[in-house]
Amino acid sequence: MITLVTETFDPGATLNAFSAGRLVTGAVASFLGIARGKAGAPVALELEAYPGFTESQIAGIIETAIDRFGLQDVKVIHRVGPIPPGDPIVLVLTAAPHRREALEACDFLMDYLKSRAPFWKKEPGPEGPRWIEPTQRDLSDIERWA
């Protein structure tokens, strides 16, 4: 359900495979996050994970989403390591009988992934790379689901 990858991945192929053969699903929602760069910087950001721990924490929130929104299936792919601008960084796919649940679960999972997931993020800055903590916007987004 959750896969961390160190190389780029194909979101379209993943969506096609996830959607195939779903006779009783009705709705698949997807969110694709793309690494946003700054002019001239070869790396948009670098993400560090704790292999094993990061997956198990995200798997826990996926279980919460499945229960809360009545999902049939979830797939999350998250890139780690140095990520060039324009590369896919995260793909969230949710399957449910109806669109509202699929869309809301996708939104819920992204708010968690952007604020609480066990990643450590380094971004290039004017004085060299620096470690980044969640923005105020990320923190207020996650509060919507309390």
């Binding site: 094993g52 952007k114 609480r116 997931a117 990643f119 450590w120 993020k121």
Partner: protein
């Protein structure tokens, strides 16, 4: 013996990612060993927002360590 892993800014402060400390039978004795080695790192480990995970499970307060335990110190998580 405990295998210590550092993440994020803690790794930059220490200058290493993974090291073995011994003897360490509790989290508190492990932290004392780290303090003897590098007081700056020990202060950072006690700083706000730093959590410890023993064998990939988050822990609070002091805890016993099995021989060969993996102890990770995790600064505030940034999300992806």
């Amino acid at each position: 013996m405990a295998r210590v892993l550092l993440f994020g800014r803690l790794r930059d402060i220490a200058g290493w990612r993974e090291r073995v400390f011994e003897p360490a039978d509790r989290l508190s004795t492990l932290k004392a060993l780290i303090r003897q080695d590098d007081a700056g790192l020990a202060d950072a480990l006690d700083g706000p927002g730093v959590q410890a995970a023993i064998d990939k499970a988050l822990t609070r307060g002091d805890a016993a360590l099995r021989p060969g335990a993996e102890v990770a110190f995790l600064p505030a998580m940034s999300g992806g």
